[in-house]
C-alpha cells in the first residue's frame, strides 16, 4: 500500500498537478505605472549618487560617515529586526572592525581590501562568541550582556596600546584607489549598496526566512526542521561581519582610529536609528540612519549660516529622543510604516497593502472553506 502512494515531492499525481495550481497571477503595474516608478527610482538613485558632489568639499566626510552608520544600522537590523534580539553593544563591533583594519594596514602592512577582509572576519568572529551566549539567554538578559560586552570592549579591549595605538590612536590610511574624500565617499556608498543587496538576498532566501521564523518561535522553527543553533549563530555572525566591514570603512574616513569613538552612546544611537527608521525594514533603517546620523551636523551648519537659528548640533540628542517617543507612541513601525505605500509603490506593487483589503470573496462554493 505504502509503495503505491504518491508523495508530492516524489512525483505529483496528474490530479494534484493542475495546470496552474491555484497560484494567482501576480499583480503588474500598467505601462504608465512602470515609467513613473522607474523615473522616481532613477531620481532617488541620482540624488544619492550626486550627494558627494553637491556638498561642500569640507563636508564630504560627513556623507561617508552617515553612509557607514547606515551600514551599521543595517547590520543591527539583522539582529533586532530579523532575530528579535536587542544589541546594546553594536559600537563594539564597529570598533573591532576599525581597529582590526587599522592594525592590518599599519602593523601588518596589508592592502586596504585585505584589511577590510580582516575586519569582516574579526567582526564575525567576535559576533560568533556573543551568539554563543545568545543561545543560552534571551531578551532583556541578552541585551544586558551585549551592554556589558560593549562597555568591556570600549574600556578594556580598545585600550590595549599594542593593538589600538593607545591614546594616540591607530592610523588607517585609505586605499590607493580612493584617497580623495569624494572617491572615498563613493566607496562607502558602494559598500552600502552591496550590503543592501546582500541583506535583500538574505530576507528573500532560505536563510532569512529561517532566521525570521526563529524570532517568532524557536519551537515551531525546530518542528519545521530548522536547526535553531546554527541559524541563530549565523544571524549573529552575519550582523558582526557587516559591522566589521563598516568598521574598516569608518576607520579610514578620518584615517585614524581613536578608542574614544566607540562609546555606549554610539551603540544606543544605532539602536535609535533602527527603531526610528522602522525595525525590520531596510529602507526605513537606512533613512533612519541618514536622518539621525546627519542631524547634528545639519543643525550645526544651519546655526553657523543663519545667526537667528534657534538650536545647534547639540540639540540633536533632544530631537532624537522626541522622535523616538513619537515613533513609540504613534508609529511603532517607524518611518517605514509612514512610507509603507511609497515603498510598495516603488517596488512595483500597488500603493495599497495587499491582504486585508483584497480579502477573499465571501465563502464561495469552490473556496473549499470547511
Amino acid at each position: 500500500m505504502a509503495g503505491t502512494i504518491v508523495r508530492p515531492t516524489v512525483a505529483p499525481t496528474p490530479e494534484v498537478r493542475r495546470p496552474s495550481p491555484a497560484a494567482p497571477a501576480p499583480w503588474r503595474p500598467s505601462l504608465r505605472g512602470i515609467v513613473a516608478r522607474v523615473a522616481v527610482l532613477l531620481a532617488v538613485v541620482g540624488a544619492v549618487l550626486l550627494l558627494p558632489m553637491l556638498v561642500p568639499a569640507t563636508d564630504v566626510n560627513v556623507v561617508s560617515r552617515v553612509t557607514v552608520f547606515a551600514i551599521v544600522a543595517l547590520s543591527l537590523n539583522v539582529l533586532v529586526g530579523y532575530t528579535g534580539q536587542v544589541s546594546l553593544g553594536h559600537a563594539a563591533f564597529l570598533g573591532f572592525g576599525a581597529f582590526g583594519s587599522g592594525y592590518a594596514l599599519t602593523e601588518m602592512g596589508l592592502t586596504w581590501p585585505a584589511a577590510a577582509v580582516v575586519a569582516v572576519l574579526i567582526g564575525g568572529g567576535v559576533a560568533a562568541l556573543l551568539g554563543g551566549v545568545a543561545l543560552r539567554i534571551q531578551g532583556l538578559y541578552l541585551a544586558l550582556v551585549t551592554l556589558a560586552f560593549g562597555l568591556f570592549a570600549e574600556q578594556v579591549m580598545f585600550n590595549i596600546p599594542a593593538v589600538t595605538g593607545g591614546g594616540a590612536g591607530m592610523p588607517a590610511p585609505r586605499p590607493a584607489f580612493a584617497t580623495g574624500d569624494r572617491a572615498y565617499a563613493y566607496l562607502c556608498l558602494a559598500a552600502l549598496v552591496a550590503v543592501w543587496l546582500l541583506d535583500r538576498r538574505v530576507t528573500t532566501s532560505k536563510v532569512g526566512r529561517a532566521i525570521r521564523a526563529l524570532r517568532d518561535s524557536e519551537r515551531v522553527a525546530a518542528s519545521w526542521g530548522i536547526n535553531v543553533t546554527r541559524y541563530k549563530l549565523l544571524a549573529f555572525v552575519l550582523s558582526g561581519s557587516i559591522a566589521g566591514l563598516a568598521g574598516a570603512l569608518f576607520a579610514s574616513i578620518e584615517q585614524i582610529v581613536s578608542n574614544l569613538t566607540f562609546s555606549f552612546t554610539l551603540s544606543l544611537t544605532f539602536l535609535f536609528m533602527a527603531v526610528i527608521g522602522g525595525v525590520g525594514s531596510r529602507v526605513g533603517v537606512v533613512i533612519g540612519a541618514a536622518l539621525i546620523g546627519a542631524m547634528p551636523f545639519v543643525l550645526d551648519r544651519a546655526a553657523e549660516t543663519n545667526p537667528g537659528f534657534p538650536v545647534d548640533g547639540s540639540a540633536a540628542v533632544v530631537l532624537t529622543a522626541l522622535l523616538l517617543l513619537l515613533v513609540l507612541v504613534r508609529f511603532p513601525g517607524g518611518i517605514a510604516q509612514l512610507l509603507g505605500g511609497v515603498v510598495r509603490w516603488c517596488s512595483f506593487r500597488p500603493w495599497k497593502a495587499a491582504g486585508r483589503d483584497s480579502a477573499p470573496t465571501p465563502t464561495g462554493g469552490d473556496s473549499g472553506r470547511p
Binding site: A2, A22, T204, S205, R209, A213
Partner: protein, 286 residues
Amino acid sequence: MAAPESLTAVVDAPPEALEDDPRAPAAAEPLLGASGIGIRFGGLQALQDVSVAVHDDEIVGLIGPNGAGKTTFFNCLTGFYKPNTGTVTVRGEDITGLRPDQRTALGLGRTFQQVGLVRSFTVIENLLVAQHRNVGYGATAGLLGTFGSRREERALRERAHIVLAELGLSHLADEPLGGLSYGMLKQVEVAAVLATDPQCLLLDEPLAGLGPEEAEAFGDRLLDLRKNLGVTVVIIEHHVPFMLRVCDYVYVLNFGQLLAEGTPDTIRGNRAVAEAYLGEGAVTLG
C-alpha cells in the same frame, strides 16, 4: 519489535482490547515506535512506561482526559522533551537522542496545541519556511541569488500552493495570519506541517476552534489526505466520536499511563475508558 507482544506486557488493558487487533499480522517494523517512555517533572511522573506503535498509512488516535500526558508524550516523540526512560524509534532506528529538527528531517511533522505558525508571516510565507529542509540550494547560493536558487524558490512557491489547494485553503494564500480565526489558523498549521513533507503527521488537537460541521469536514479531508498522499497520522483530540470515526487504532492515556488500546470498536465498549472519561459507573462511551 513485534508490537502486540511487547505491548501486552506493559499495558494493563483488558484482554479484549487486544483480542481482535487487526494489526497483529503486520509484524513489519513500525514507522514510528515508542517503548517504555517515562518522564518525570520534579515530583510528578507525567508519563510512565508508555509504548505505542504506528504503522504506515494508519491513522492512530491518542485520547485521554485533560492532564493525561498526551501532549507531553508528543513532545517526547518529537524531541522537545527528553524522556527519562524508554526509546523512540523511526523504522527501527533509535532517535531518542536527536534534536527536534533532526527528527523532522526523518519525517516527523507535528502541530502544536497553541498554533505553531510564524505570526509575522503571511500564510504562503509560512508554507515556504516550513519547506526549509527540502530546499536544495545552500546558504551561499541563496545569498548570491544564483539562477538555480531562484528557480527553486519558484518551485517552493508552486508547491506551497499545491498543499494549500489540497486542504482547500488557496484563498488564504496571501493573508497575514493576524486576520484569521483560530480554527483557520489550525488548518493553516496542518498545511504548513504537510509542506515539510512528513512521513508521519502528529496533530495536537487539530479540531480546536472548529464547529461540528467543520470538524466533520476536517475528518473527511484527513481520510482523503491519507488516500492521496499516503501520510501516516497520529492525532490527539478530545472529540471522541470524531476519533472513533477517523482512527484505525486508538490509544487511551490516563494519568500518564496507557489505560487501553485497540480499534475504535473495542475502545467504544471498554468500561475502563468510559469510566476515565465519564466517571465511575459509566459503561460505554457509545
